[in-house]
Symmetry: C2
Subunit: 658 residues, 2 copies
């Protein structure tokens, strides 16, 4: 369902206009388009590529450098065994249903959802109510399977049932979806053909390594596993110091059954993931939590959702952790840092919320999980997940491989542990118990401390103990004091061994990029055909557009010189020397999100002065080369705002004509 | 065959020592090692990751920004049809041979090579000659299949035959390899089992997109195809201006049959590729060629190789292009720029050469191709390819899809073309030729200008022409002047349409990274157990190691302050506050390739002075915070050398103790 959103200027947001702009300006484009394209695959062009690189760069600075994280770059190809252990081979799946006659395949939850929605619309029409006609606007973009909606009135009770099913559509398993398909007679909308019961479809792309057929592998569904597998080496590299975090930026893959929703649901995508390893006994405190405790977040917690509402509560993260709304400091620390990062990119603060996962949404091992969701025209979209994965991953890989994915810590004060210890005279066990010797031994050694304490009294009183050993005699075996002794003793431990817990902030870079573009897109009043993308200078694909007023050869040395000086200052620039009007070139600049424009005119040739134009206000100032370059540096670094510069340098009023 | 190489200090290079260092310091590590590993897959740890990021960053600056290239980020998943058209489905293959009894698979050329080499060694032993015992040093690393070498004397003639085969081992096709296997009785070295005739094994990883089985796809073997498919959009983005280049940095894949040689032959690797599009009629000139024409390259051209030699010739690139050794300016421009880039990274100039491809090595469409090869302990290794791919790729994709992958240029002066035009009275063709009408028409329209001219005379003289139309009558058809007219007319063309040619510099980032590590690795005389990696500051994973002399709490604020100031200066630093000795920590620093060390001692607490240590000379200077930070900035930016700094700031002699 499309949500009504407004632009940063308060006007209605026009998705079609923005998407057209982004394709025209080559932010992105469907991959293999000349071959008909493949759904869910997109290429980034120069603008998208630079935007993506700037987002990644900011991420690396804000997280990896700021926190001295250990960055790794692991392979995407991953052998079967690893993903079998992690649970992905068995559980990373969606439900699909097939029309056996045509072979067409649908994602089961999507087809149920779509058909019930269509019927509800048909019902509204039949009742003469107003129908939201979003589909009619742009039927192609939506790729809906249901082409025609029949005006047919439904029972009031059935309407209520449909609405309840739709509210819970994300939570049905395959069997339940199969029941819905049967109960509501869900059929292939194209030919009314019957659908098969849903089957699980694993969402990993499968391949095979090497020439023999016995090395099945997958493209990784997340970058996390590579980080877990290297835990021991990373801990060693970190000189055994805890806590620490690893980080990874790279592509992951998800073989969607039938992707729609553009850049938001793709089959190949860039992720940036952090695995922060903590001692579970530390209370998951974070040493820098104090720095962010006053950051206010819009929290949508589990309880509110359970009550069927979506009211967010503005809460300082310090308070949220203190009250236990957010499970621990480390998780809270990252939620705050995620928001600060998103704001730095230019995301609209009023379009961020943090939604807690419901219990049945989380993996069984997760302690807590919050998503940073951004409001787009597609609704609230999960862009960053932040989960406490507990010790699950390290534990399963350690168990499967025998690798010690643990921390060994020398205790400052050795631990003195009092415990009941059992001594067995093993030499006598064979002669006495024959083939059952081992089983009896094992049963005795498995006894708990409580039982040992009781048995020590029994041994003292009766000279023997009676132990349950299943499968030996009648299941109860007597062992005399000639064979066994039980004593309370003190054991000293000087090291502690534990499996760290993992807090995982996981960023979908493509989704953030797309949502950001929606947040910064607007049109100038009276000039709705031309868009503006108001990226902050830090993130803008190109910082400066250089616009020569004419193709006169006298301009060349100035352009060359300006470009070179900007390059030395590490500020990206482009020259637009096409013969379009200055106004047209500036509006191209606005669509590319370039924050500043420098015009080279005949006056420049005489005295090396230039005009500097601000994208958002379209105001201009004029000054000599040094002053203009200095203003650009200070604007792109964020040291000054346009208002500051406009106060300092003389305004320029001429020239901008269409 | 291993080549004897020496370190930058002239001592023998010890590969095993360097590889141990690189793994210990987590530059790289075998992927999935706790699961037993997968050959040909490696992960980069923090040091390797930072090194790789710095190389990529330099590449982007030297090529993409410097030349305003249009960077794109295309998907790795590529549908079958695209790679069928490009020729990869049919030709991107190696030959494999199987032992049918055990199922073991060998790369055919490798197994022939290895067995013949082993026999030649055995022959030498039998003749009592000295045998190069490289294998005995490190049998595991080599993963040789031949474990035991039998001392057995061969005929002199056979020795010569074997040597000839080995010299040409890269040039045999499958059938020829099969003949060699039979002729020389090449068998599975493990069990003497017979080997099957070689079969082609396609080196692309295959997968499937979506849930149905009819969308076969591959992981891309190069980033080039995505750039070609977007040509039209990129040209449009570039406002139709030619020439221009696109560029892409991303992972590609090659499903090696049985990879060895560590980081040099991997199944998943980072590439940086440029596609520079030029007008073939421009003479492939490059406007900036003049800037590089005096750059001297070590060229190993085709003729020298044909004569069986490997003598390189130091040639200024200007001269090489002028004499036609290098085909054109654009190709030459990039060869020079490749060398300048490699030198910037710290590659040893004496270990670079440019080798021209032999005719049979190049794709049939390639006009010329040169590899930048770097000398390593594995021999000369291709690290950058620079090929003129002509118009091949754009042509085949345009032909297959109908997309106009061409440049349309408005001609300054419209072209007036005189030509013989043929007019057919098509209405009369049916009645006259019946079912053969179309064939006759087609045959006439296919006639060349020369033939048309001759036929125009024939028509004038005889009132008819005789045309060859295979499959019609006796293959010769008469057409009278009532049906056909031939006249010379003038056609005016105001636009020119052409398919650009492509010059493709293609960088294997992982290979460059590995070769660079070999080039900068050395050990201090008398301290051979500890390595040094002398990366230039620009490329070094971390620029500064901060070493507190003790864990005294008074040091904390200083360390915090230094780290923060360096972060603001965008200079990466790490703190080593382990309780190892200063000497041990510095030597860790040397192994990580960190060029500078700052020591915080008790004096620092008093007066905020620090010592600054140079990795390569181990010399130190001491100064106040500002002076030290300023020196670090100027050293990492390359504005000053250590010698300059050592002259300016007072030397410090104390402290470095083991």
């Amino acid at each position: 369902m499309a949500h009504p959103t407004v632009t940063m200027k308060g006007a209605p947001f026009d998705r079609a206009a923005m998407e057209t702009l982004m394709r025209r300006r080559l932010f992105y484009t469907p991959s293999f388009e000349i071959y008909g394209g493949v759904s869910g695959l997109y290429d980034y062009g120069p603008s998208g590529c630079a935007l993506q690189a700037n987002i990644v760069d900011t991420w690396r600075k804000e997280f990896v450098l700021e926190e001295n994280m250990l960055e790794v770059d692991c392979t995407m190809l991953t052998p079967h065994e690893v993903l079998k252990t992690s649970g992905h081979v068995d559980k990373f799946a969606d439900w699909m249903t097939k029309d056996p006659k045509t072979g067409e395949i649908f994602r089961a939850d999507h087809i149920v959802e779509e058909i019930l929605e269509a019927r509800l619309k048909g019902d509204k029409e039949a009742r003469g109510q107003k129908v939201d006609d979003e589909d009619k606007e742009d039927p192609k973009k939506k790729k809906k399977k249901v082409k025609v909606i029949k005006a047919e009135r439904l029972d009031d009770a059935l309407v209520k049932e449909y609405e309840e099913v739709l509210a819970k559509i994300d939570n049905y398993n395959g069997e339940e979806l199969g029941e819905l398909i049967e109960k509501y007679n869900i059929r292939n909308p194209a030919n009314d053909g019957e659908l098969e019961p849903p089957k699980a479809f694993n969402l990993m792309f499968q391949t095979s390594i090497g020439p023999s057929a016995n090395s099945p592998a997958y493209l990784r569904p997340e970058t996390a596993q590579g980080q877990f597998l290297n835990f021991q080496k990373l801990l060693e590299f970190n000189q055994q110091a805890m806590p620490f975090a690893s980080a990874s930026i790279g592509k992951s893959f998800r073989n969607e059954i039938s992707p729609r929703a553009g850049l938001l649901r793709v089959r190949e995508f860039l992720m940036a993931e952090i695995e922060h390893f903590v001692d579970p006994q530390s209370g998951k405190k974070h040493p820098r939590f104090v720095e962010v405790k006053d950051v206010e977040l819009e929290l949508l917690n589990r309880e509110v959702q359970l009550s069927g509402k979506t009211d967010v509560k503005t809460t300082p993260i310090g308070e949220a952790v203190e009250k236990g709304v957010v499970d621990n400091e480390t998780l809270g620390y990252f939620l705050a840092r995620i928001q600060l990062f998103l704001l730095k990119l230019g995301v609209d603060k009023s379009k961020i919320r943090f939604r807690q996962h419901m219990r049945n949404e989380m993996a069984h091992y997760a302690a807590d999980c919050w998503d940073a969701e951004l409001l787009t025209s597609y609704g609230w979209i999960e862009c960053v997940g932040c989960a406490d994965r507990s010790a699950y991953d390290l534990t399963v890989h350690a168990k499967r491989t025998g690798a010690p994915l643990v921390v060994r810590e020398t205790l400052k004060e050795p631990l003195r542990i009092e415990e009941w210890q059992i001594d067995l005279d093993k030499k006598k066990f064979g002669p006495k118990f024959k083939k059952d010797g081992k089983a009896v031994e094992a049963a005795i050694e498995a006894l708990t401390q409580d039982v040992r304490e009781k048995l020590s009294l029994e041994l003292k009183e009766n000279g023997k103990i009676t132990v349950e050993v299943s499968g030996v005699g009648d299941g109860r075996v007597d062992v005399g004091k000639d064979l066994v002794a039980i004593e309370k003793r003190t054991r000293v431990e000087s090291t502690r061994e534990y499996t760290p817990n993992v807090i995982e902030p996981s960023f979908g870079i493509g989704r953030i990029l797309y949502a950001l573009c929606e947040h910064v897109h607007w049109t100038r009043p009276g000039d709705e055909a031309r868009g503006v993308l108001s990226f902050p200078p830090l993130i803008a694909p190109t910082k400066v557009l250089i616009v020569p007023l004419s193709a006169h050869p006298d301009f060349q040395p100035l352009i060359h010189d300006l470009s070179k000086k900007l390059r030395t200052l590490r500020i990206s620039s482009r020259v637009d020397s096409s013969n379009a009007s200055i106004g047209k070139r500036y509006s191209r600049n606005d669509e590319l999100g370039t924050p500043f424009g420098v015009t080279v005119d005949f006056q420049s040739v005489k005295d090396k002065t230039y005009t500097l134009r601000d994208r958002d206000t379209t105001k201009q100032v004029r000054a000599g080369e040094d002053a203009i370059l200095q203003a650009i540096v200070s604007l792109t670094e964020g040291a000054e705002s346009w208002e500051d510069v406009a106060k300092r340098l003389p305004a320029f009023e001429g020239q901008e004509v269409d």
